[in-house]
C-alpha cells in the first residue's frame, strides 16, 4: 500500500469505506428486517393466539347466541358470524401453520388444534347450529352437554397452542435478538474497521500533512532547508520535492525581494525626494507664474495708466509752464515789494528803538514830576500854616495855599495816571520792538526764500521745457512696452497653466509613490520576518 499514490490510496480507502458502509447498511437493514420479521412473527403469534381464541369465542358466542335467541331473528347473522368465525379460525390456523413451517412443536399444536377444531369443535358447532335451527332446545341441550368437555378441550389445546406460540415467539424473539446482536456486532465491527481504516489512512495523511505543514511552517519562518523524505512515496516524495523546490524558490525570491525592496525603498525615497523637490519647485513655479501673471497684469494696467498719466502730465506740464511764467513775473513783483517791506520794517525798527529810548527818558521825567508833586504838596501845607500864622493878613495867602493844594493833588493824580500810562507804553513798545524784530527777521528770511524760489522757478521752467519734450518719447516707448506686456501676459498665462498641470501631475505621482512606499514597507516587514533566519 505504501507505494500506491495518494490518489490510489485515497480511492481505495474510500472504496473500502464505501463498501463497509454498504455492508453496514445492509447489515443494518438485515438486522432491521430480522427484527421486523421477528416482530411480525411475534405479533402474528401474539395475535394469532388471541385471534384463535377470539374466533373460538366468537364461534361460541354465535352459537350461544343462536341458542339463546329465536332462530328467526338474527339467526342468519349468528350463523354468518359463526361461519365467519370459523373461517377465520381456520384461516388463522392455516396461516400460522404456513407461517411457521419449521416449528414442529407449533405445527404440531396447531395441527392438533386444527384437528380438534375440524373434527370436534366445528362439527359440534354445526350440529348445534343445525339443531338450533330446528330444535333449539335440543341444541341447547346438545350444547350444554358437550360444551364443557369441548370447552376444556379447546382450552387445553388453546393453552397448548398458546404455549407453543409463546415458545415459538420467544424462540423467534431470541433468535431475532441474537441476530440483531450479531448484526450490531457486525455493524460495530464494520464501524471499527472503517474507523481503523480511516484512521490509519488519515494518520498517514495526517503525517504527511503534518510534515508538509511543518515544512511550510519552517518555510514561513524562513527555514528553507530541504526535507529528506523519510517516507519516500511517490506522492509524498513529489510533495517533498515540490516543497523543496518551493523552499528554494522562495529562498531565492526572498533574497531577490529583499534586494528589490531595498532598491524600491531607496528608489521610492529618492523619488519621493525628487517628487517633493519637484512639487515644491512646481509650487514655486506656480506661485511665481501666478505672481508674474499678476505682475504682468499690473504692468499692463500700469502702463495703460502710465500712458494716460503721461498724457495728463504733459498737459499739466504745459499748463505749469505757462503758470510758472506768470509766477515768475509775480515773484519778481513780490520780491520788489518784499524789499520795500524789509526797508520799511528796518526804519520802523529804528523808530521803535528811538521811541524805546525816549520812553526810557520818560521815567526820569516822571520822577521829576513826582518830586514836583511832593514839593507842591509840602508847599501847600507850609503856605496854609504861614497864612494861619499871619492871621488876618494871611487870608489872601490862605486862598493861595488852597490853590496850591489843589494843584499838588492834580499833579499827584496826573503823575499817577501818567506813570500807569508810561508803564503800559513801555510794555507796548517792548512788544512792538519784539514783534517788529521778529517781523523784520521773518521778512528778511522771506526775501531770501523768495529770491531762492525765483531762481528755482526759473530752473523749473527750464526743466519743464525739457520734460515736455521728453514726454513724447516716453509715451512712444510706453506704448511699445504695453504691447510687450500684453505678450508677456499671455506667455505668463500659458506658463501658469503649465505649472499648474505639472503640479497636479506631481501631486498624483506623489500619491502613487506614497502607496508604493507603503506597499514596499509592508513587503519589507514581511520579508524581514522571513529573512531573519538567513
Amino acid at each position: 500500500m505504501k507505494r500506491f499514490t495518494i490518489w490510489q490510496r485515497m480511492m481505495a480507502t474510500l472504496l473500502l469505506l464505501l463498501l463497509l458502509l454498504v455492508g453496514a447498511m445492509g447489515l443494518a437493514l438485515w438486522v432491521a428486517q430480522i427484527r421486523l420479521t421477528a416482530a411480525q412473527h411475534s405479533e402474528q403469534l401474539s395475535t394469532a393466539g388471541q385471534r384463535i381464541y377470539a374466533d373460538v369465542l366468537r364461534m361460541n358466542e354465535a352459537l350461544r347466541g343462536l341458542l339463546l335467541e329465536p332462530p328467526s331473528e338474527g339467526a342468519q347473522s349468528g350463523r354468518s358470524d359463526a361461519a365467519s368465525a370459523e373461517s377465520d379460525l381456520l384461516a388463522n390456523l392455516s396461516d400460522l401453520q404456513r407461517g411457521f413451517p419449521d416449528q414442529p412443536a407449533l405445527t404440531g399444536a396447531l395441527r392438533s388444534f386444527r384437528e380438534f377444531a375440524e373434527r370436534t369443535l366445528l362439527p359440534f358447532d354445526h350440529r348445534v347450529m343445525e339443531l338450533a335451527g330446528t330444535d333449539p332446545v335440543a341444541a341447547r341441550t346438545e350444547y350444554g352437554k358437550n360444551r364443557a368437555a369441548l370447552q376444556d378441550q379447546h382450552e387445553a389445546l388453546l393453552a397448548n397452542l398458546e404455549r407453543e406460540l409463546d415458545l415459538v415467539k420467544n424462540s423467534e424473539l431470541s433468535h431475532a435478538q441474537g441476530l440483531f446482536a450479531a448484526g450490531l456486532a457486525g455493524l460495530l465491527l464494520i464501524v471499527i474497521t472503517a474507523l481503523f481504516l480511516a484512521r490509519s489512512q488519515s494518520s498517514s495523511w495526517a503525517r504527511l500533512l503534518y510534515h508538509a505543514s511543518a515544512r511550510v511552517e519552517r518555510m514561513r519562518r524562513g527555514d528553507f532547508t530541504e526535507d529528506v523524505d523519510s517516507e519516500p512515496t511517490a506522492d509524498f516524495g513529489a510533495l517533498t520535492d515540490g516543497f523543496n523546490r518551493l523552499a528554494a524558490d522562495l529562498s531565492q525570491l526572498v533574497g531577490q525581494v529583499q534586494l528589490s525592496v531595498a532598491e524600491v525603498d531607496a528608489t521610492s525615497h529618492d523619488l519621493s525626494k525628487t517628487t517633493d523637490h519637484q512639487q515644491s519647485a512646481a509650487q514655486d513655479v506656480e506661485s511665481a507664474a501666478s505672481q508674474a501673471e499678476t505682475a504682468a497684469g499690473k504692468i499692463a494696467a500700469g502702463s495703460n495708466d502710465l500712458i494716460h498719466t503721461i498724457k495728463e502730465a504733459s498737459r499739466t506740464v504745459d499748463q505749469s509752464w505757462q503758470l510758472a511764467g506768470d509766477g515768475q513775473a509775480a515773484l519778481t513783483g513780490i520780491e520788489a515789494t518784499m524789499s520795500q517791506l524789509v526797508e520799511a520794517t528796518g526804519s520802523l525798527e529804528a523808530k521803535l528803538g528811538a521811541l524805546s529810548e525816549k520812553a526810557a527818558h520818560l521815567d526820569g521825567a516822571i520822577t521829576a514830576i513826582v518830586k514836583v508833586a511832593d514839593q507842591t504838596n509840602l508847599l501847600s501845607l507850609n503856605a496854609a500854616i504861614e497864612a494861619e500864622k499871619a492871621g488876618e493878613y494871611g487870608l489872601g495867602f490862605a486862598v493861595v495855599a488852597t490853590e496850591i493844594r489843589r494843584l499838588s493833588d492834580q499833579t499827584a493824580v496826573a503823575t499817577n495816571d501818567l506813570e500807569k500810562m508810561i508803564k503800559g507804553m513801555h510794555g507796548l513798545i517792548l512788544d512792538g520792538v519784539t514783534t517788529i524784530g521778529k517781523f523784520s527777521e521773518g521778512t528778511r528770511e522771506s526775501l531770501q526764500s523768495l529770491s531762492h524760489a525765483g531762481t528755482q522757478l526759473a530752473q523749473s521752467i527750464e526743466q519743464m521745457r525739457k520734460i515736455s519734450g521728453q514726454f513724447q518719447s516716453v509715451l512712444e516707448s510706453v506704448n511699445a512696452q504695453a504691447a510687450d506686456v500684453q505678450r508677456l501676459n499671455r506667455t505668463m498665462e500659458q506658463l501658469n497653466e503649465a505649472a499648474r498641470q505639472s503640479a497636479e501631475t506631481l501631486r498624483q505621482s506623489t500619491v502613487g509613490l506614497g502607496k508604493l512606499n507603503g506597499a514596499a514597507r509592508d513587503l519589507q516587514t514581511s520579508v524581514l520576518r522571513l529573512a531573519r533566519s538567513k
Binding site: 501845607l381 507850609n382 500854616i385
Partner: protein
Amino acid sequence: MLFLLFQLGQDRYALEARRVVEVLPLLALRPLPQAPESVAGIFYYRGQQVPAVDLCQLTLGRPAESRLSTRIIIVNYLDARGVGHWVGLVAERVTEVLRKKPTDFVGPGVSIKAAPYLGPVLLDHEGAVQWIYEQRLLPDPVSDILFSQSALWAQS
C-alpha cells in the same frame, strides 16, 4: 483854627498849625550815637542844627516809614527856662491841614499819665483825631539830652 494832621501808625493826631514852624521833607538825619532811640538824628535847617525825634519810635516803638508823606514837623519847644528850641518831629502822613473849632474836640475823660501829650479827640467820618500837645510830647530824659546839648550843637 487850623490844625496840621499827621499819623503815627493807624492813629491820627492834630497839631495846632500856629505852633508849627515849618514842615520839611524827610531829610537825611545824621544819627547821634549816644542819644535815646527816639532821637533819630540831626539835620540842618536855616543854618542851624535841629534834632529830630521820631514820634513813631517814641509812641509805637518802631521807626517811621520812609515815604514821601513822612515829614519833619518843626516845632518850637520851650525848655524849663522858657528858651525856645527847634525840634523836628518825624511823623507819618503829614499831608493835610484841617480847620476846626477847638470845641469840636471832645475830652477823652481819661488822662493817661504815661501820655500827657494826648488831648481831646475829634471824631470825623474817618475815625478819631487826637489833639496832641507837643510841648508835653518829649519825655524828660529825651528833652534833657536834647536841650542840654542843643546849645552845644548850635555852637558847632
